[in-house]
Symmetry: C2
DNA sequence: CAATTCACCGATAGTACTATCGGTGAACTC
DNA sequence: GAGTTCACCGATAGTACTATCGGTGAATTG
């Protein structure tokens, strides 16, 4: 039994994870303002100076936290969306493509809030890595929209699909926020609305593909 | 000419406005991190301690700033939206209803970002007032959607309109962010997308009003 | 078992900011 | 025009946080 006492490597890794978890807990309860090396370490039960054994500074910790979050939730969400794109007319797959990310967001509100804040805070310590992840998600979603049959023949149409991807993402986050705040108790209703938004914009964009039928937007 | 020297009241009011303008300038240039009583006062040309003649603390200033912004932009935005609701089939009025808030948001990018971020940060100094304003905007937008003919006959439909209002707002903010980040250079294209989103969801909700025609969402 | 490594600790220098206090002179009051 | 008010000022006590340093003991090495 070599596990009675922890090896030095295991012990260090455990402390590191405790620090990350502590930071996450603080972000969720006190917000970004409560995030200091001392506070994080006190919550994790180690000395303040131990912080610098594991991270160069707070920005370094936040970057690690963001990457962990995206590594956990990213692939699952992507998969659900791709399944929906493969069958654009299957309403249940469409709903699943919204349900999966919504449940991820609501299941780990602390991860979710962190990423949303990062998204709207390019000057924060998370800045660079958050922007990179956001761009990645957007590019993937554009791919999926094209796979679902939406037009991307001209640069303008491509840019429009990027806007739509941004929009779908923002809508999903907004519904999750509303649910977390208790205003939308039933997640299925939120999924209804998300599906309506997507179906609506999809109809608009497809109508645009055949402009000979006259103005479609009234 | 009694205005050669300022009255005490006028002078105080002028200083207060200078402090508010200074805070806004700092938010737009240095971001939230540069916001301190000393920095605000130095930029306004007064001593740091003078800050406390006008505001109880930084949160107090930010609250005042938020209220001033909402007092300035609120009615204009609301008016544009109402004009559009009065003529739901006028595409130019619809575009104006999106153009006005977009231009307001892009006018003071850092303040806009701060407000958005504050809603997702439980401990932000702006948090409470930002959430209050957000709820107000949502309620107004629901009114306008009803005025534009969208159904709100059942509690479920009312809740759905709230979700749609939240969504429109999030979409507008997202397009503003994209424009500010330089990804969407042409604001009119963003307006196109917003109009398409609204037309799309509008079609979906109106179709739902007459459910005897079968499932409309594929 | 002796030597070495290193995760963690306590202490602390340094920095930035908040908020208060008594003083000052110009505006105001009567 | 004598007394009062008060917006502003400089100084400063107090607070919070960052980042570094040398010491310590348990794990590791050979």
């Amino acid at each position: 039994m070599p596990d009675v006492t922890l090896s030095r490597r295991e012990a260090k890794d455990l402390t590191r994870r405790r620090l990350l978890a502590s930071a996450l807990r603080i972000l969720d309860t006190e917000g970004e303002a409560g995030l200091s090396t001392g506070n994080v370490c006190r919550n994790a039960g180690v000395a303040q100076s131990t912080f610098y054994v594991h991270f160069r500074n707070m920005q370094d910790l936040l970057r690690a936290l963001g990457e962990e979050a995206s590594r956990k939730t990213g692939p699952v969400v992507r998969d659900a969306r791709r399944r929906s794109s493969e069958a654009p007319h299957d309403p249940e797959r469409l709903r699943a493509a919204f349900r999966v990310p919504l449940e991820k967001m609501c299941g780990h509100p602390e991860f979710f809030r962190l990423s949303v804040r990062a998204r709207h805070d390019p000057a924060s310590p998370l800045g660079e890595s958050a922007r990179r992840r956001s761009a990645e998600i957007r590019a993937q979603m554009v791919e999926d929209l094209v796979a679902a049959g939406l037009p991307a023949d001209t640069p303008q149409q491509e840019r429009r699909l990027e806007m739509v991807a941004d929009g779908i993402n923002a809508l999903t986050e907004t519904m999750a926020m509303g649910h977390l705040e208790g205003r939308y108790p039933d997640l299925e209703e939120a999924i209804d609305v998300l599906a309506s938004f997507l179906s609506g914009i999809r109809g608009q964009l497809l109508a645009d593909r055949r402009p000979e039928k006259g103005r479609p937007d009234t």
